[in-house]
C-alpha cells in the first residue's frame, strides 16, 4: 500500500514538475513559434499554435536588415571579457575573505551586496559623464568594465562561499612546503575550486549576456550587443511581432544552448549553500 502511495506521489510530482517547467518554458517556445509565422499569423486571434504556414522569411529579413554576427560577437566579447576580468579581481578577494578574514569582512561582504540594491538609473548620469570624458562611450573596453563592476559582488560572494568549503589545512600544508601566496592561489586553491569557478563563470556569462540597461545606455553601434539588436525590432506602433520574435530567438539561442549543456553546474551554482 505504502508502495502504491509513493508511486502515485512520484507520478504526481513528476507531472507537476513537467507542468511547471512547461509553463516557465512556454514564453520561449511561443517566441520561437511566432518567429516562423507571417506577421498576419503572429497577431491572429485566436492564435494558431502549430498549424500555420511555417516560414523562415523573418530570419531572412532580420539578417538582411541588421548585421546579427556583429551584435553577437560583441555579446560574446562583453560577456566573456567582463567575467574574465571580474575573476581576476574576485579570486584573490574571495581568497582573502575566506582564509584570512578580518573583523570587518562580513560587513564588507554585505556592503558589496548592498551595491546591487541601488537602482542602476541612479548612477547613469555620473557614469555617462565619466564615459564621455574618457572617450569610452560605445567602446567594448568601457562596457566590459561596467559589466565587470556590476557582477563583481555576485562573483565574489559565490567564490567566497565555495572557498569556505575548502579546508584551510590544505592551504596551510602548501605554505609549509614553501608555496608563495601566488603559487598557493594558482596551483592549489584554483584547481580545487574549479567546479565552483565554472558555475560562477557560467552564471555570470548569462547575467552579462542578458544585461540590458547599461548595454543599451552606453553603446551605440561599434560595441552594441544583442540587447540593442532586439530593441531595434520592437515598436509600439507597427506590426513587427514575427520579426521581433525572430530577432529574440537569434539573440537567446547561443545562451540557451550554453545553458542547456551546463545546466548541472548552473543548478549547483544557484543552489549551493541553500541547505547549509
Amino acid at each position: 500500500m505504502a508502495r502504491a502511495v509513493s508511486t502515485r506521489r512520484k507520478w504526481f510530482f513528476t507531472i507537476l514538475a513537467w507542468s511547471v517547467a512547461f509553463v516557465i518554458f512556454f514564453p520561449i517556445l511561443w517566441t520561437v513559434l511566432t518567429s516562423f509565422k507571417s506577421e498576419g499569423d503572429a497577431i491572429l486571434i485566436p492564435p494558431k499554435f502549430l498549424f500555420f504556414d511555417w516560414t523562415t522569411e523573418n530570419y531572412g529579413i532580420v539578417q538582411e536588415r541588421s548585421d546579427y554576427f556583429k551584435f553577437a560577437m560583441n555579446s560574446v566579447v562583453l560577456a566573456l571579457g567582463s567575467t574574465f576580468l571580474a575573476l581576476l579581481i574576485a579570486i584573490p578577494s574571495a581568497w582573502g575573505m575566506a582564509f584570512a578574514p578580518g573583523r570587518k569582512t562580513k560587513d564588507l561582504l554585505m556592503w558589496m551586496l548592498s551595491t546591487k540594491m541601488m537602482p542602476p538609473v541612479g548612477a547613469l548620469i555620473p557614469i555617462y559623464l565619466i564615459f564621455r570624458d574618457f572617450g569610452l562611450l560605445d567602446s567594448r573596453g568601457g562596457i566590459i568594465t561596467v559589466l565587470m563592476l556590476l557582477n563583481l559582488p555576485i562573483i565574489i560572494w559565490m567564490l567566497y562561499t565555495y572557498f569556505k568549503e575548502i579546508p584551510a589545512e590544505i592551504l596551510e600544508a602548501s605554505r609549509m612546503d614553501g608555496a608563495t601566496v601566488w603559487k598557493e592561489l594558482v596551483y592549489v586553491l584554483t584547481p580545487m575550486a574549479v567546479p565552483g569557478i565554472a558555475s560562477t563563470v557560467l552564471l555570470n556569462v548569462i547575467l552579462a549576456w542578458n544585461e540590458a540597461f547599461w548595454t543599451l545606455a552606453l553603446t551605440t553601434k561599434d560595441a552594441a550587443p544583442l540587447t540593442q539588436f532586439i530593441a531595434s525590432y520592437s515598436s509600439p506602433e507597427g506590426l513587427f511581432w514575427a520579426k521581433l520574435s525572430a530577432a529574440s530567438t537569434m539573440a537567446i539561442a547561443p545562451i540557451l544552448v550554453l545553458g542547456w549543456f551546463a545546466q548541472k553546474q548552473l543548478v549547483r551554482g544557484l543552489t549551493f549553500g541553500a541547505v547549509k
Binding site: 498576419g40 497577431i43 541588421s66 551605440t220 553601434k221 515598436s235
Partner: protein, 433 residues
C-alpha cells in the same frame, strides 16, 4: 639604419596621404523602428551617391529606448549622434534649452504643413524637419455599420460613435463596437484620453498652470470614455495599446477603432482580414469646435555639439525633401510615401487616389497645437503638454485612468487622484505655489 628610417617615414607619409584621400564624414543617425524609417534606410544609396564623402550609420531602436538614450546623450552633450529622430513633444522643450541646431537646408520650408511646422518652430526657427506626420481618426467597418442600419458621417460626434458602437456590439460573436487605447502610458492611453478631453472642452492646466482634473469637463470626458469602453469595448481593454487594437481590428473584432492615421495603411494592408471593408472618418467632436484628434510628427533634428553639422544639414535636407517623396513613390508606390508633412503632396493628383489621403490631411489640419482645446491654455501640444514634467506626470495619470478602466476605482476617485498627483508635481516643479 638610415634607410630603415627613410622607409618608415615614407610609409607613414603614404598612409597619411591615403587617409586624407579617404577622409569622409560618418553620420550616426538615431531612429525609431517604423515602416517609413526602415524604408528610408533602404533608399539611402540615392543620398550617398550624390554625397560620396558622407557615409550613414543607423542606430534603430524602440521608441522609448531611443527617447531615453537620446535624452541622456543630448543632456550630457555625449555626442554619440549626429542626427536624431524626435517627436513633436521633445522639439519645443529641447529647442528652448538650446540642445538643437536650427535647420538651414530644408527643402522649401513654406511647403510644410503649417500645423506640423508650427509645433517644430522655436523662436521663429525651424528646429526639426518633419519626416512624417500623423493625426488620429475613426477607422470603421463599413459592413458592420451598414448591418447596424447606420451611416457613418464624415465628421461624427461622440454621440454618433456611442450609438453606432452600441448597435454593432455583439459580445456572443466577440464583435465589439469600439476599440480604444487603455494601456497606461503618456503616449498610450493618455494620448487618446487627452485628445478626447480636448473635444469635451477639458484642459490639463488653466492659464496659471493649475491642474484641472476637478473640472466638470474632465468628469464628462472620463466618464464617457470609461462607459463607452466598458459597454462596447473588448474585454481587457485596460491593457490594449496600438498593436493590440490593431490585431483585434485586423481580426475583425472591432466595429470602430479611433487611433493614429498611420494605422490606415495597416488595416487596409495584406495582413488585414477586413482590408476591403474599412471606412475612414474624422475624429469625433462634442459640438464645441474641437475634435478629439491628436497631432504628431517624427522629425529629424541635429543635436547641438555635433562635429558634423554640415553633413547632417545635407542629410536632413535630402530625407525631408520633395525629391525623397518622389523617390519613394517611384520605387514603392504613392501609398508608401511618408504622409502628413507637405502641402504639395496633397495637391498631387496621384496621391489623392490613396484612400486615406484626404482624411489624414483633414485630420492634421483640424488640430492646432497652440490652441488644443476650447479654453485658453498656457502650453503647446494637442495630446501632450510640452513641458519636461509631462511625460512622468501623464504616465502616472495614465496608470490611474487605466486602473479605473479595469474597474479598480471609479471615475471620480481617478480624477481626484489625478488632480492630487498633478498638483503635487506642478508644485514641486515650481509652476504653482
Amino acid at each position: 639604419m638610415k634607410s630603415l628610417l627613410k622607409g618608415v617615414l615614407g610609409a607613414l607619409a603614404i598612409a597619411a596621404l591615403s587617409t586624407t584621400a579617404l577622409a569622409e564624414t560618418k553620420l550616426t543617425i538615431a531612429t525609431v523602428n517604423n515602416g517609413d524609417m526602415i524604408r528610408m534606410q533602404g533608399l539611402t544609396d540615392d543620398f550617398t551617391k550624390a554625397n560620396p564623402d558622407i557615409t550613414l550609420e543607423w542606430v534603430t531602436l524602440e521608441e522609448n529606448v531611443l527617447r531615453e538614450k537620446v535624452t541622456t546623450d543630448i543632456a550630457t552633450k555625449g555626442g554619440q549622434f549626429d542626427v536624431l529622430t524626435i517627436g513633436t513633444y521633445e522639439v519645443p522643450i529641447w529647442g528652448k534649452k538650446g540642445w538643437l541646431v536650427p535647420l538651414t537646408q530644408v527643402d522649401d520650408p513654406a511647403d510644410l504643413l503649417p500645423a506640423i511646422a508650427g509645433g517644430l518652430t522655436v523662436d521663429g526657427k525651424l528646429m526639426a524637419a518633419p519626416f512624417y506626420g500623423e493625426s488620429s481618426m475613426v477607422m470603421y467597418r463599413t459592413d458592420l455599420v451598414e448591418a447596424a442600419g447606420e451611416k457613418m458621417p464624415d465628421a461624427p460626434t461622440w454621440d454618433d460613435i456611442k450609438r453606432i458602437a452600441g448597435k454593432i456590439t455583439n459580445k456572443d460573436k466577440e464583435i465589439y463596437g469600439v476599440c480604444l487605447r487603455g494601456k497606461a502610458g503618456w503616449g498610450e492611453n493618455m494620448a487618446f484620453i487627452t485628445a478626447t478631453s480636448n473635444s469635451f472642452g477639458a484642459r490639463w492646466f488653466d492659464e496659471n498652470w493649475k491642474p484641472q482634473f476637478d473640472s466638470p469637463e474632465w468628469k464628462d470626458a472620463l466618464n464617457f470614455y470609461l462607459d463607452l469602453l466598458k459597454t462596447d469595448g473588448p474585454p481587457g481593454a485596460s491593457s490594449n495599446g496600438f498593436n493590440e487594437n490593431l490585431a483585434l481590428f485586423n481580426a475583425g473584432k472591432c466595429g470602430m477603432w479611433i487611433d493614429a492615421t498611420v494605422a490606415a495603411s495597416f488595416v487596409t494592408g495584406k495582413e488585414s482580414t477586413v482590408a476591403d471593408k474599412v471606412g475612414f472618418a474624422l475624429a469625433p467632436d462634442k459640438g464645441l469646435g474641437k475634435r478629439g484628434n491628436w497631432l504628431w510628427a517624427w522629425s529629424l533634428a541635429i543635436p547641438a555639439g555635433t562635429q558634423k553639422e554640415e553633413a547632417a544639414q545635407k542629410f536632413i535636407g535630402w530625407a525631408t525633401s520633395k525629391h525623397y517623396t518622389e523617390l519613394v513613390a517611384s520605387k514603392e508606390g504613392w501609398a508608401n510615401v511618408p504622409p502628413g508633412t507637405r502641402t504639395s503632396l496633397y495637391a498631387n493628383p496621384e496621391y489623392a487616389k490613396v484612400p486615406f489621403a484626404k482624411m489624414t490631411l483633414d485630420s492634421i489640419n483640424s488640430a492646432d497645437p497652440t490652441k488644443p482645446t476650447v479654453k485658453p491654455v498656457p502650453y503647446v501640444g494637442v495630446q501632450f503638454v510640452a513641458i519636461p514634467e509631462f511625460a512622468g506626470l501623464a504616465t502616472t495619470v495614465g496608470q490611474i485612468f487605466s486602473a479605473a478602466l479595469a474597474g479598480e476605482k471609479t471615475a471620480d476617485e481617478a480624477l481626484a487622484e489625478a488632480q492630487d498627483a498633478a498638483t503635487r508635481e506642478m508644485t514641486k516643479a515650481g509652476y504653482i505655489k
